[in-house]
């Protein structure tokens, strides 16, 4: 009985298996039928089409590189454009002995070792039947010479490729950035994002500044042609083509004239300047000094120039506005004052008598005021105007570090401003928690005291400082700062896409308090203020604050003597300002590295920028076509 059932189960199970096998078999048959159908489609249905394509082995797919978008300033001044260059290219599969071909070419025109290396590198990255340049920037003469002897060089042809040029040379180099040869790392990134196909035939990619950040907008869509080629690899006939879509133009909010004025005003000092329209976040000038010539990078910078740029003590390759970090010094005070007022801690008629130093209870350590004898009786407005350290020492301690940094962080300190550039760093707003994480140490009250005057661990980028100034100028409304204000489409119907102003954050501030801080800042540029000379004869009100950031610590009781200190150890000069004070349309931050005092070193630069922006006044050295000083003179000035 049980044996019988087992047998029956067995046969039942076997039957199930057979059923499943038959289903699988049907699927197999179906799939093979699909393949057969596909073969019919390809080999019978579209035979003629593919036969044409394959005819005589002569079909080649050639990418057509799109024109890269231009970069223009707000008035249409061209900052980056393209031009054609003759290149001599070898198609390895058609050239036979490539090494020999190169040697024979080198008898006709100069082929440097760099050229050979570059060719080898490119050849490894492309198909054997695609051409790679052995020489670029052929002169007319060289091109003509080769054209005459072309028959001796199968697989070698003259082509024209697009190159990038920056007609303003050094102007705004950190902001514009540059393009460079696509390297292995770029290829990896492009592959990961699925864009590698679109870069077939492209040699360059944005490597810094706007060129990098807006790469997808600027590059465009690569087109391709199916071409028939003869035995030498020369295109004979185009079979089909898909046109490339050119990249879009970028219109910056930056005014290259302001940019020029600012860069000139720096002379050969190091530093940074960022000017923003506080109402809409448009960046008007973006200066990082010293600058470099982005044209150097386009075709691969040579080792020596690279070394001299990268090794220079002046660090010209550092993008200072977003990557340079400095203690804000006294330019931090208006923001601390704002915190004190909003918290009610220092509301008028509060005032104190400044003895010239501040001490914590139970400690003998003296936190000195920059003015040894003190400022006498000061209220909050005067504290800003005369930059009274003692006042802010006490205020910071009263607020406490968490409340202080928590409040000023709304102005954008301690985080990225979100400007449209790659590589921005966020500076540092210290908190006890941060200190513990970083150093495994507890926070001391003395550290809170010095944060009140922008010293200690606090670090800001010039970009942050400019943005914070814009926020205070705009009554607490933070607009997202941006360099690009419009994108001009180059495809199809064209058209321009304006980037709308975007509100980033809004701090609710009591208008009376805003007015109070503004009054203090306006007095800074009036007689008796720390930057009285900056405001002299301006014709409009400037709300400003000076600052000095220590580079080298000064011992208790020692005196700071600028003359006795090595130039690179002198204090950084800082200056923030917005104008016209009542209805500001420009806010800016200036930092002159090792410049000494903010009012005298950084202030005049800011004044020149504002004079031009608000009054259209050109500084004396700009009116004439500017001539560059010889390098020797620059050297001398550096050491005086």
């Amino acid at each position: 009985m049980s044996l019988q059932r087992e047998l029956r189960n067995h046969s039942l199970e076997h039957h199930h298996f057979q059923l499943r096998l038959s289903v699988a078999g049907s699927i197999v048959l179906f799939c093979f039928a699909v393949l057969l159908f596909r073969f019919f489609f390809l080999q019978i249905g579209k035979y003629d089409y593919f036969q044409t394509l394959a005819e005589n082995n002569r079909i080649s797919l050639v990418p057509t590189v799109p024109n890269r978008g231009l970069i223009l300033d707000r008035n249409g001044v061209v900052l980056a454009h393209n031009f054609f260059v003759y290149t001599l290219e070898i198609t390895p599969s058609k050239a036979g002995n490539v090494e020999d071909t190169i040697n024979r070419i080198s008898q006709m025109m100069e082929v440097s070792n760099e050229d050979r290396k570059q060719f080898k590198k490119l050849r490894a990255q492309t198909h054997n039947f695609e051409s790679a340049p052995i020489r670029t920037h052929l002169t007319e003469e060289e091109a003509a010479k080769f054209a005459v002897n072309r028959y001796q060089f199968p697989g070698v042809e003259i082509r024209s490729r697009l190159f990038r040029s920056y007609p303003q040379n050094n102007l705004g180099s950190h902001m514009i950035g540059y393009i460079g040869r696509i390297n292995e790392n770029d290829i990896k990134n492009l592959d990961a994002s699925g864009d590698l196909g679109n870069y077939k035939g492209s040699d360059h990619i944005g490597k810094g500044g706007i060129e990098q950040f807006y790469e997808p907008v600027l590059h465009g869509q690569t087109g391709f042609q199916q071409v028939e080629v003869d035995a030498d690899g020369q295109a004979v006939r185009v079979l089909s083509s898909t046109a490339p879509i050119p990249g879009d133009n970028l219109v910056l909010s930056v005014d290259s004239k302001i940019q020029e004025i600012a860069e000139k005003a720096f002379g050969n000092r190091r530093g940074a300047l960022v000017a923003i329209n506080p109402k809409n976040g448009e960046v008007l000038a973006y200066v990082s000094m010293p600058t470099f010539d982005p044209n150097l990078f386009v075709d691969g910078i040579d080792a020596e120039t690279w070394k001299s740029l990268n090794g220079s003590l002046d660090r010209p390759l550092i993008n200072r506005p977003i990557r340079g970090i400095y203690p804000p010094g006294s330019t931090f005070k208006p923001f601390v004052a704002m915190a004190g007022l909003e918290d009610g801690k220092r509301h008028p008629p509060f005032s104190l008598s400044d003895p010239g130093f501040y001490t914590l209870s139970g400690s003998a350590h003296r936190y000195r005021d920059w003015k040894p004898d003190g400022h006498g009786q000061v209220d909050i407005q005067r504290a800003i105007t005369v930059s009274c350290d003692t006042f802010f020492y006490g205020l910071a301690l009263d607020l406490g570090i968490e409340k202080l940094t928590g409040f000023v962080s709304h102005f954008g300190f301690g985080k990225k401003t979100g400007i449209d550039l790659t590589g921005e760093i966020g500076g540092l707003l210290p908190t006890p928690e941060w200190k513990y994480r970083r150093w495994k140490q507890k926070w001391y009250p003395g550290e809170t005291v010095i944060v009140g005057i922008g010293q200690g661990y606090t670090l800001v980028t010039p970009m942050q400082l400019a943005q914070a100034t814009a926020v205070i100028a705009n009554n607490g409304v933070a607009m997202r700062p941006h360099l690009v204000s419009a994108i001009q489409k180059n495809n199809g119907n064209g058209g321009t896409f304006n980037i709308p102003p975007m509100k980033q954050d809004e701090i609710s501030l009591d208008p009376a308090n805003v007015a109070l801080v503004r009054a203090g800042m306006v007095d800074v540029t009036r007689p008796g203020g720390t930057a009285a000379s900056v405001g002299a004869g301006a014709g409009y009100d400037i709300a400003a604050k000076t600052g000095t950031a220590q580079v080298v610590g000064i011992k208790q009781g020692a005196k700071y003597n600028a003359g006795a200190i090595d130039e690179r150890h002198r204090d950084h000069a800082l200056f923030i300002a917005y104008a016209p004070a009542e209805n500001p349309t420009i806010a800016l931050a200036v930092i002159v590295e090792n410049g000494g005092h903010g009012g005298s070193a950084a202030g005049p630069i800011a004044r020149k920028v504002m004079d031009y922006y608000l009054l259209g006044k050109l500084p004396a050295d700009i009116v004439e076509a500017s001539t560059k000083k010889p390098a020797a003179l620059v050297e001398e000035e550096l050491h005086d």
Partner: protein, 365 residues
């Protein structure tokens, strides 16, 4: 004497399968000769690969299914450990971590899994046969997913796909309920649009290109377009052996390995394609016969899975070359250059032979 010796040697060889294999190998050598640009230095190593693989097939055919069953678990465990070893200490070559250096030799454990996986699952279901519950399918699925995941991470999409298929076939043949199969298919149909909407634009673009290579003719779609030109220009009777113009020049990439079918199709045309597909169909047909005649569950499941896996190789490779499937690295059995895939395919066929020729012996004992 001599005829006795030959009879003994070939006792475990399924003559029907052997005939097909013989023809397939001959075709393979001819196509390699053409695809490599008439390069004997490609043909001779491939010939040696074939000899080695055929010897291994013969050896496996002589192992009784009973022993195969006993080897299933150890083989699987060793394979799994080696895969873990690869994940931890594997050597990276061509951007993927697939190889394990044992000091005396470099091995690719994922290949072992192609045989080990169906054996293990067949063994498992054979053991649980008497009281099979749905939990068993879940356990089997787990045994399947872990190695597949490890191989996918190497990354080796093609191999992980084959292992996944070979395991799935066992689970399917073991009787996974139709409802679950239908439910799974339904779930995939429902989840696809949801999954799609969660993807980034560039991820979508990648997948779109996978299914429609003409969107990216210079990048990922390049292989497929060139292969289509080669195939299509072959026409009905083909351009003739050694006369394939697309494949003789540099236009066709990977023309001796994954894309070799394009060379075949260009030179032998639709007629050749039909004949080759017929030859593969005969092997698959014979596999089905062996599976349905097998005497126990282990043999049935294993033979069925090996046969369907063989079909998967053929379909995925030809489908990819002719542009109806996305490009995944799966070689064409017998035709693609390379020893590894030959060995795995012929090991599988050796198991089929073992099952087919040992059945009578056991049934009578």
């Amino acid at each position: 004497m001599i005829s006795d010796f030959v009879a003994n040697l070939s006792k475990r060889i399924d003559s029907f399968l052997m005939g097909c294999i013989f023809f397939a190998c001959i075709i393979g050598l001819f196509v390699i000769y053409s695809a490599s640009g008439q390069d004997w230095s490609r043909v001779l190593p491939q010939f040696i690969n074939m000899m080695v693989a055929l010897t291994l097939m013969w050896a496996v055919a002589n192992i009784t299914p009973h022993w195969l069953e006993r080897m299933a678990l150890p083989l699987f465990v060793v394979g799994l450990l080696l895969l873990l070893g690869v994940a931890l200490f594997g050597e990276i070559s061509h951007g993927a971590r697939r190889w394990l250096n044992l000091g005396f030799a470099r091995i690719q454990p994922s290949e072992l899994m192609k045989v080990g996986m169906p054996m293990m699952l067949a063994w498992y279901f054979a053991r649980r046969e008497a009281n099979l519950r749905s939990a068993d399918y879940a356990i089997a699925a787990l045994m399947l997913v872990v190695p597949v995941g490890l191989v996918m991470k190497q990354p080796d999409l093609g191999t992980s796909l084959i292992i996944l298929a070979s395991g799935f076939y066992v689970i399917y043949l073991a009787g996974l309920s139709w409802k679950i199969l239908a439910g799974g298919a339904g779930l995939i149909a429902v989840m696809t649009p949801i999954f799609w909407s969660l993807l980034h634009d560039y991820q979508r673009k990648r997948i779109e290109i996978l299914f429609d290579p003409s969107q990216d003719p210079l990048g990922a779609g390049y292989h497929t377009i060139q292969a289509s030109i080669a195939l299509g220009s072959g026409g009905f009777i083909g351009k003739g052996w050694l006369n394939g113009t697309q494949s003789q020049l540099d236009f066709l990439p990977e023309r001796t390995t994954d894309f070799i079918f394009a060379v075949f199709g260009e030179e032998f045309g639709l007629l050749g394609n039909i004949l080759l597909l017929a030859l593969f169909s005969l092997i698959i047909f014979r596999g089905f016969v062996i599976a349905s005649r097998a005497h126990n569950t282990f043999c049935r499941l294993l033979a069925g899975s090996i046969t369907l896996t063989f079909f998967t190789y053929v379909f995925v490779n030809i489908g990819m070359v002719s542009g109806i499937l996305p490009v995944v690295g799966v070689p064409l059995p017998f035709i693609s250059y390379g020893g590894t895939s030959l060995v795995t395919v012929l090991l599988g066929l050796g198991i089929l032979m073992s099952i087919s020729t040992h059945k009578a012996l056991i049934a009578s004992s």
